[in-house]
């Protein structure tokens, strides 16, 4: 039994718990709160720096907007996969999970292309903090997407490796992945809105 499962089984029926929310899910939300702070710090730094002048005006490459669509769709497919998991529909679960994983990879590749397009537009790195902030913020976001894609890869491996059974431990693990993936999705929507409105 893995350590995480020990925790799960040990906790799952502890009625001393205050809420219906599983402690590990709660912990996930708390952790995401700290990630929110990290990006709030960066976007605040952006606002402060922008206000002090010497700021290059340019428009965000279209590819970033297209990519927003990609990650939103990936969130939807993951949610559908979660539905399939709950119905124990193994084929649909495997397919939807794989699609989500591929969309996650696609997002990373498209982000890379976005950075290249930004440079081609005449905003390479080191020209002006206005551009550097776009790079820095989207890099840090992409780094968190890499973590999400890694988690999805593990889920895909499990989905194909063992027969689908709806156990509390597996459901919780999937839910944690789901929460995190929705988070990086929502985070990107915030960032793209911020970056296109705070020009």
């Amino acid at each position: 039994m893995s350590a995480i499962e020990t925790t799960l089984n040990h906790r799952i029926d502890t009625p001393s718990r205050r809420s219906k929310l599983h402690p590990l899910k709660f912990a996930m939300y708390v952790g995401l709160g700290s990630l929110v702070m990290m990006f709030i710090a960066l976007t605040s730094a952006y606002i402060v720096r922008r206000a002090s002048g010497n700021w290059l005006e340019f428009s965000i490459p279209t590819i970033f907007y297209v990519n927003t669509l990609v990650i939103v769709v990936s969130s939807l497919t993951l949610h559908a996969a979660y539905g399939a998991f709950k119905r124990e529909a193994e084929r649909a679960y495997r397919a939807l999970l794989s699609v989500t994983f591929l969309l996650g990879l696609a997002f990373l590749i498209l982000q890379y292309m976005g950075w290249q397009e930004l440079a081609a537009q005449g905003i390479p790195l080191k020209i002006n903090p206005a551009g550097d902030f776009v790079y820095a913020i989207s890099w840090l976001h992409a780094l968190h997407v890499v973590g999400g894609v890694a988690a999805l890869l593990v889920s895909v491996a499990f989905a194909y490796g063992i027969k689908l059974r709806r156990t509390p431990a597996r459901q919780l693990r999937l839910e944690l992945t789901l929460i995190y993936w929705h988070f990086v999705d929502a985070l990107w929507i915030y960032l793209i809105l911020f970056l296109s409105l705070q020009r």
């Binding site: 350590a3 402690p23 912990a27 709160g33 700290s34 702070m37 730094a45 402060v48 840090l140």
Partner: protein
């Protein structure tokens, strides 16, 4: 009135049965040496790991301070005898006179600050007591995620190893001050320590942040989700409130530091200009344009100020508990204590720029920060008066734990009052970056937090090891530290008021500070003696683990909190059978003529009901 029953009988009768099987988990968690002592997932073992690692760092940080104090107190004396320890950082001239290299002096000052702030008083203090006490005091089997808890320690360990390795670089560790302001931190060519030393410093601190976040997530989740039956938030012992709020502060502020470091790394690594502009090194202009070093200061101090409360809040909690137990009185103003912790935590986030009054920020904005800074005096004073009121009329037991708790209150008052001076932006024109600042923060968060930590260690040592620390040695340790610390830091106020700047290697070329030579000598001697008393503590600690007086009863202090209802040798899962059910708050001391009433004791017939 019904007679008081023993705690174990009460737990048997009213406790909650969660079908916990001791031996099953015992096998998993404590089967062999590695899983018991090294990669342990038991919160009590992890607490000891944090504590002993913290002690290791405290000794290194303190020795560093002694070395630079010798330079400050006795600049003429030969330091050649330190050559075996410091090697090339001591240059010995033809007459055999050894002097400390100036660059290394800065490295020592920087590392002393980094180590004490982050490794000892943040990771060491909160890591130790949050881990030890949260599950024990709220009646939980362990943390919400023992795995994350273990990772928290090991991230701390790896972070420490990297910082330790940086001490041995040929270019020396980072030397640009513990705040790591750019440009010294952002340009590898700025000075020797800004190269590999700074790279390791940054990596180490990012890993430390990961450790603190993993720990903090766990503390918050555990307090909110795993409290035992009957343990409402308003029945939590004060240390738990303090650890809980500390964790929230860390969780909201450390990510901001990570962001600051992220941009700093980009400036260093790939040559962006977030923090750099118009800099000349060796006569040549660098091509960094358009950055702002002030931006880094804002981001840094947005963590940096909450950080001082992250350091001091756990000490608040520990001291409240120890004072109440040892004066046999309920803590005075329990709710006021909680609300003042919350108020301090809230204010912590809107005062950061008082560290930047002299950085060229708008004086009108500075006014805003002055006002909020001074308002912090209100909740702090509430706490101080409550501690004093708790002691007032109490039947005080003077043991090392309570002495350190009382000493804490003294230090917190002395250091807190100078905070009111420094919070004024006008006074800061004279006082900023002087020894007045050094005196202020060493007393109010350095020494005071250490006192809180010592108080906690002496008090809960029996819970950790089943033995007591030596009382006499503890008292000697207390008086030596109390007097010594005042001798070290009190004179610094006078230096500071006269304008003596901190971080300077030597004052040879300042005629005006010449008359402080004697005072500097005195401070150095006092520091060395005070350090000697700390060694006494270390000896006492390790001696007592194996040779200390054995604990014979579960509840040696006649305390009310749940940790004293666990067996003397606490196994994994903390309570062998049922979990205790909580019936009342933690501070029913000397109530209705009864010395103490445990939290597991149901409200008795005829009992007065003020809580």
């Amino acid at each position: 009135m019904a007679p008081l029953k023993r705690e174990e009988a009460l737990i048997e009768e009213f406790g909650y049965d969660d079908h916990f099987h001791d031996h099953h988990h015992g096998d998993k968690y404590q089967s062999n040496f590695v899983s018991h002592y090294i990669f342990s997932m038991d919160h009590k073992m992890i607490a000891k790991q944090f504590l002993i690692t913290g002690m290791f760092w405290a000794i290194i940080g303190a020795v560093m301070s002694l070395i630079f104090r010798m330079q400050l107190g006795f600049p003429e004396e030969s330091l050649a005898w330190l050559k075996p320890l410091l090697g090339k950082w001591i240059t010995v001239n033809s007459e055999g006179i050894g002097t400390l290299q100036q660059d290394f002096y800065y490295a020592l000052v920087t590392m002393h600050g980094t180590i004490l702030v982050f490794f000892v008083l943040t990771a060491g203090l909160s890591g130790t007591f949050s881990n030890l006490l949260i599950p024990l005091m709220i009646g939980a089997r362990d943390m919400a995620s023992p795995l994350l808890n273990m990772l928290s320690y090991w991230f701390f360990f790896v972070s420490g190893t990297i910082m330790f390795a940086s001490l041995f670089l040929s270019t020396g560790p980072f030397a640009g001050g513990w705040v790591a302001y750019p440009p010294l931190s952002a340009l590898p060519q700025a000075m020797d320590g800004s190269g590999a030393g700074m790279t390791l410093w940054t990596i180490s601190l990012v890993l430390l942040v990961v450790s603190l976040l993993l720990g903090g997530i766990n503390y918050i989740t555990t307090v909110l989700n795993l409290r035992t039956k009957g343990m409402s938030m308003w029945r939590l012992p004060l240390p738990i409130w303090a650890f809980f709020v500390t964790a929230i502060l860390g969780l909201l502020s450390f990510p901001v530091l990570t962001s600051a470091f992220f941009l700093l790394m980009l400036d260093r690594g790939i040559g962006t200009s977030f923090y750099l502009s118009d800099i000349y090194i060796g006569g040549a202009a660098l091509d960094h344009v358009g950055g702002s070093p002030i931006l880094y200061q804002h981001l840094f101090w947005f963590l940096g100020h909450p950080e001082v409360y992250i350091i001091i809040l756990p000490a608040f909690g520990i001291v409240s508990e120890v004072l109440s137990v040892n004066s046999r009185k309920p803590i005075f103003g329990y709710q006021a204590m909680v609300f003042s912790i919350l108020a301090i935590a809230f204010l912590a986030f809107i005062v950061w720029a008082h560290h930047m009054f002299m950085s060229g920020i708008n004086p009108f904005i500075a006014n805003f920060f002055v006002i909020f800074t001074l308002i912090i005096a209100v909740p702090s004073a509430v706490k101080v008066f409550n501690w004093i009121a708790t002691l007032y009329g109490g039947n005080i037991r003077f043991n090392p734990a309570s002495l350190f708790a009382i000493g804490f209150v003294s230090m917190f008052i002395s250091g807190g009052l100078t905070g009111i001076w420094l919070g004024n932006s006008a006074l800061d024109i004279q006082l900023h970056d002087t020894y007045f600042v050094v005196a202020h923060f060493h007393i109010v968060m350095g020494v005071a937090a250490f006192f809180g930590m010592y108080s906690g260690i002496y008090h809960w040592f029996p819970k950790m090891y089943g033995r007591f620390m030596n009382d006499t040695l503890g008292k000697v340790h207390f008086w030596g530290t109390m007097i010594g610390a005042y001798c070290v830091f009190w004179p610094m106020h006078y230096l500071g008021m006269a304008g003596v700047p901190r971080r300077y290697y030597s004052f040879d070329s300042f005629q005006t500070f010449g008359h402080f030579d004697g005072m500097n000598k005195f401070i150095t001697i006092a520091a060395i003696i005070t350090f000697g008393f700390q060694l006494l503590f270390v000896i006492n600690y390790f001696w007592s683990i194996w040779r200390g007086r054995k604990m014979t009863t579960k509840n040696p202090y006649n305390a009310n909190t749940l940790e004293w209802t666990t067996p003397i040798e606490v196994g994994h899962g903390n309570w062998p059978g049922k979990l205790p059910t909580v019936q009342r708050w933690a501070y029913d001391y000397s109530k209705d003529g009864i010395d103490h009433i445990s939290q597991v004791q149901p409200i008795m017939e005829g009992e007065s009901v003020d809580h």
